[in-house]
């Protein structure tokens, strides 16, 4: 009887997870769907609490309350711009939990574990441990607690391969003689190291791809656990996560025109990259008043946000400038490049936070034909995603990456702090073009001044 309750709670949890993810296919249904997913999680937890092996509840309660409080506070307090690191961190916690459960299982049953169970526990601990350290490094890099640039040494890939090989050997030993505790803890230690080694050589800007991959690994670890303990909800949720992670990393890589292996083993962004089309000429600086006049008397303005808008936390002022322009009957659109910023869909979230209706957010394919009819394109801390070299110069390191054709607008205004390069570390000929005017300074400050100037124009 109890079994039925537990099993049905898992079945419903699975269904709710699927419905929840499916609801993310449209912003109108997304929230309701996520509530269902939350209910699903609650059901799974309640169902589990009825499990006959559970004898005492007070420690569980403590764990739930403490964890819930920490999670809630973190999620509530963190700024929207710090999302990537929070997601990485939260991910690391999940992986740590899986690892700990695996250790506890092993510590308890040790030598008496059967082969298939041992395989599953091994995979769980292996993937869990590497995901834990990998996520922590990713979070640290994103939060700039650690050098964002790749940390590399010679023969790194061989060392990594060696570590991986040894830990797999340890796993095989364990399967055939589960009593070999030494092999277990060796495997655990190596997996922790491997997670570090895997992520350290990757640049901060590539972290979203890495995180998606780690998410996929964590999903597969859950699937493995599901097979081991014959639990379908774990298999389903794990597989969904696994696929989600792989699909997202593939999409991101495609939008950057790079392969996954290049991201993971390429240590991209470490070297300055082969010098692209020699920078001829000097960028033209314009003043706030000129820019404001251009904007105020335009018929159509396209905002092109990038990573700089996120670091400057300028999304609210961007929206304010847009409102001021709209009051003057200027048509305002936002052009969102799929990998602008540092997370897939990063700009969408920030602008949505600033209350921009999503009907004004245009994807690359939708907006590119619109630039020639646009009076002013205003680039706010974007660089690589508007680099015309990607389109025109086959020798460029980012050649082939789809870009926003900002340079085809009648006039371009670029907001950046100085001569800094974008994530790819290359020159951007857009800034040297005739019809481009630069407004140097922190994006938030510059936009504030622009607003007052437009109001007075």
């Amino acid at each position: 009887m109890d079994h039925y309750v537990v099993e049905f709670s898992y079945l419903f949890a699975s269904v709710f997870f699927i419905v929840g993810l499916k609801s993310l296919s449209h912003p109108d249904t997304a929230r309701r769907g996520m509530h269902l997913a939350e209910i699903g999680m609650l059901l799974a937890i309640i169902g589990t609490l009825l499990h006959k092996e559970i004898v005492s509840y007070q420690w569980i309660l403590v764990g739930l309350v403490v964890g819930g409080a920490i999670g809630g506070i973190l999620a509530q307090r963190v700024a929207m711009t710090a999302l990537p690191q929070l997601t990485a961190l939260s991910h690391g916690f999940g992986a740590l939990a899986a690892t700990l459960v695996g250790i506890a299982e092993y510590a308890r049953h040790g030598a008496s574990i059967e082969k298939p169970q041992m395989v599953a526990i091994g995979i769980e601990v292996l993937l869990g441990a590497l995901t834990t350290t990998g996520s922590v490094v990713a979070a640290a890099k994103l939060q700039e607690l650690m050098r964002g640039s790749p940390i590399t040494f010679k023969g790194q890939n061989y060392v990594n391969l060696g570590i991986l090989a040894v830990s797999l050997v340890a796993l095989v030993i364990l399967v055939f003689s589960p009593g070999a505790a030494f092999a277990f803890y060796l495997m655990l230690a190596l997996a922790l190291v491997f997670g570090l080694m895997l992520v350290l050589p990757i640049a901060a800007a590539d972290m979203p791809v890495v995180m998606s991959l780690l998410n996929a690994y964590a999903g597969l670890a859950a699937t493995a656990t599901g097979f081991a303990i014959n639990n379908n909800v774990l298999i389903i949720a794990g597989t969904l996560n696994g696929f989600s992670g792989f699909i997202l990393s593939v999409l991101m890589c495609r939008a950057m025109n790079r392969s996954i292996t290049n991201v993971i083993f390429g240590a991209f962004g470490s070297a300055a990259g082969p010098a692209s089309a020699a920078a001829t000429g000097e960028a033209r600086e314009i003043n706030i008043e000129d820019a404001a006049t251009q904007l105020a008397y335009a018929r159509q303005v396209i905002f092109v946000p990038g990573y700089g808008m996120a670091t400057a936390q300028a999304q609210h002022v961007v929206r304010e400038l847009a409102s001021v322009l709209e009051e003057r009957n200027v048509t305002v659109k936002y052009a969102i490049h799929p990998v602008a910023g540092r997370m897939p869909g990063h700009m969408n979230v920030l602008l949505a936070e600033a209350d921009v209706p999503y009907s004004q957010l245009y994807e690359l394919e939708q907006i590119n034909s619109d630039f020639p009819n646009t009076d002013v394109a205003i680039v706010i801390g974007a660089n690589d995603v508007v680099n015309p070299d990607a389109r025109d110069n086959p020798g460029s390191p980012i050649a082939g990456m789809p870009i926003l054709d900002v340079d085809r607008a009648r006039s371009v205004i670029v907001l950046k702090r100085g001569k800094g390069k974008g994530f790819a570390g290359i020159e951007n000929p857009l800034f040297l073009k005739q019809n481009t005017g630069m407004l140097y300074g922190d994006a938030k400050g510059t936009l504030g001044k622009l607003i007052s100037a437009v109001v007075q124009a």
């Binding site: 589990t48 005492s56 403590v62 999620a75 939990a97 700990l100 506890a104 949505a352 209350d355 209706p357």
Partner: protein, 101 residues
């Protein structure tokens, strides 16, 4: 028949479903998607509950309770942040006062 097969079916079907469902999520919602799947992956909470509540000695309980804390952070943090993000997405401009930080 044997205990592996049903799991394989569930796996194969979920893989298809995952592919179909995820590839329909528009880029607009990719960031919420990441944190939503992140939250759902906290389903390993289920395992930690059994470990924490079982009567298998101090080590097991300590590990289990730590795991429960970590997994709960994962679940609560993940869903909460997803919720926070999704709240922002609105279809049309509303006359609500503009938020400032």
């Amino acid at each position: 028949m044997n205990s592996l097969m049903p799991g394989l079916y569930v796996f194969a079907l979920s893989a298809f479903l995952g592919y179909l469902v995820i590839s329909r999520v528009p880029p607009l919602l990719h960031t919420p998607l990441m944190s939503a799947t992140n939250a759902i992956s906290g389903i390993s909470l289920v395992g930690s509950l059994v470990t924490a509540g079982g009567d298998h000695g101090v080590l097991s309980t300590v590990l289990g309770v730590t795991a429960v804390i970590c997994a709960t952070i994962n679940v609560v943090g993940g869903f909460w942040i997803t919720e926070r993000m999704l709240k922002f997405f609105r279809r049309k401009e509303t006359p609500v006062a503009k938020e400032k930080e």
